[in-house]
């Protein structure tokens, strides 16, 4: 989060859950991989935009937030299994007391943090409970 250039490079995949898919074995990769770990040289990688639906595998509640996140605490950080099979870590928007393992979630576009009052605003993907 601290580096503007690093964030910039990954911007497309953060905004749109853009990853890759191996046509050979059917595996999906997020963040995107240009090389299939299963098929090695015979893998056929293509661009893939994830649907943004999945479920919570496990989660933790962050009560003391890092710089740029102070206003958001307490918040839930979760490991999410996307429906295509890829695993990712993301923040879940909503009441931390109402989170549970196996909860269905869908992606939304939110502010991830900001570099103080003068710095860049970082946008990207978070998740919300899919029901309601």
């Amino acid at each position: 989060m601290s580096s503007v250039p690093r964030f910039w490079r990954n911007l497309a995949s953060r905004y749109n859950l853009e990853g890759t898919h191996c046509k050979e074995c059917g595996n999906y990769f997020y963040p995107p991989r240009n090389f299939c770990v299963n098929c090695r040289r015979s893998g056929q990688i293509e661009h893939y935009k994830f649907k943004g639906t999945g479920e919570i595998v496990t989660y933790t509640i962050i009560r003391t937030a890092a710089e740029g996140f102070e206003r958001q605490a307490p918040y839930t950080l979760a490991i999410i299994k996307l429906d295509e099979g890829s695993i990712m870590t993301a923040q879940i928007v909503g009441d931390p007391e109402k989170m549970y393992i196996g909860m269905r979630v869908r992606s939304v576009f939110r502010k991830l943090g900001e570099g103080g009052e003068r710095g860049m605003i970082y946008y990207g993907t978070k998740f919300v409970p899919a029901e309601t």
């Binding site: 905004y15 749109n16 102070e70 206003r71 958001q72 502010k111 605003i121």
Partner: protein, 366 residues
């Protein structure tokens, strides 16, 4: 009710023999709400008098991590979901707001990237108080009509601020609407037959660079601001088209509160049933640049093919943009693919003033 056939519509186009209209639309309203009673409780105001005077019961509040850019993106993605068009066909993204997150750096590039429309396209942000979104619609109509672009996306979105205890605090809300403007007749969910604007230099409401909250000319700004411009804008379009209020099934007017659009509709000769589907302000408050477009979206959610909608947006400063719209058969195909305005209004999460102050950044940390 006067019905126009496709041939008649073709003769009343803004351009020559060109049909321009709405290919798709999408709305977004944050989940959180604060009731007017809760704000009035804090300041010791009479809640019932305020609710009756403003005709607003509660207003939407953005989440801590929501701003004009995130709201614009959610609305834009809903519009994309409804239309199923290839994002690379969008040649322009224009976002109108008075609360762009950056002073310098466009909101529209964030939206364009988030819907996958970049990089072969143009983008810019618009500002004109509450009518920046409809100004963006007009710009897209021009670019689409002149064939400079295939499709254009116009957005009105805001996370409005009212200073604590200021009258504006009771209605300043958050929300946004995106419209995809196109010209291929078989793609249009609604045809925009014509638009007309009325603009003067009127200092009824303003905010200086770097100031967190707007200033306004007090409670008597309605007559020279809202009413004068909305009435002249609306009358100008009716005259241009030779139509009358009774030719329309629905009407939408900028809704800073419930009272103004109800009053202006009556003054112009529109009825309560005509404005009912689009009058969403009592449950969500004033979404500023989203306001008139939210009313149009709510009306498109319910209208039938062939129905005509009259709409007039207002922006302080001041100006009005009026539109005459006819819904096509396509509306039934697209509208269920994304949440309707009535669905976005459902299931609110009510918060108290302390939580509201945290959400709106009224408590400054550090």
């Amino acid at each position: 009710m006067k019905r126009l056939g496709t041939d008649a519509l073709k003769q009343s186009k803004t351009g020559e023999n060109m049909t321009i209209g709405i290919v798709s639309y999408g709305a977004y309203i944050p989940r959180y709400r604060i009731k007017l009673e809760e704000i009035a409780r804090l300041w010791g105001d009479d809640a019932e008098a305020l609710k009756n005077g403003l005709m607003v019961d509660e207003k939407s509040v953005p989440d801590i991590d929501e701003d004009t850019a995130t709201i614009a993106v959610e609305a834009a993605r809903s519009a994309m979901a409804r239309s199923e068009i290839n994002p690379h066909r969008i040649g322009a993204v224009y976002t109108g707001s008075e609360s762009h997150p950056y002073a310098v750096k466009p909101t529209s590039t964030i939206v364009a990237q988030a819907i996958g429309a970049t990089p072969e396209m143009t983008a810019a942000d618009f500002e004109f108080a509450c009518k920046a979104g409809t100004a963006a619609v007009q710009a897209c109509m021009g670019l689409v009509g002149s064939q400079m672009i295939d499709l254009g996306m116009a957005i009105g979105a805001d996370v409005s601020q009212g200073a604590p205890s200021d009258a504006l605090e009771y209605t300043a809300a958050a929300g946004g609407v995106a419209c995809i403007i196109g010209r291929k007749e078989d793609e249009l969910a609604a045809i925009i037959e014509a638009t007309y604007s009325y603009t003067t230099d009127t200092p009824d409401f303003w905010r200086r660079e770097g100031m967190p909250y707007p200033e306004h000319g007090g409670r008597f700004t309605g007559e020279p601001g809202y009413f004068k411009h909305v009435i002249n804008g609306a009358k100008g379009l009716l005259k241009k088209l030779g139509t009358k209020p009774e030719d329309y099934d629905y009407a939408v007017f900028h809704q800073p509160n419930g009272k103004f659009p109800s009053k202006v509709a009556k003054m112009l000769g529109f009825t309560t049933p005509q404005i009912a589907p689009g009058l969403v302000v009592p449950k969500i408050g004033n979404t500023y640049s989203g306001s008139c477009l939210m009313g149009i979206a709510a009306t498109l959610d319910e209208a039938n093919p062939g129905d005509r909608i009259f709409a007039t947006a207002f922006g302080s400063g001041a100006g009005a943009d009026a539109f005459s719209i006819t819904v096509t058969d396509k509306i039934k195909e697209i509208r269920n693919r994304a949440p309707k305005v009535s669905e976005l209004i459902k299931n609110p999460i009510y918060i108290d003033y302390a939580r509201y102050a945290k959400h709106k950044g009224k408590i400054r940390l550090g």
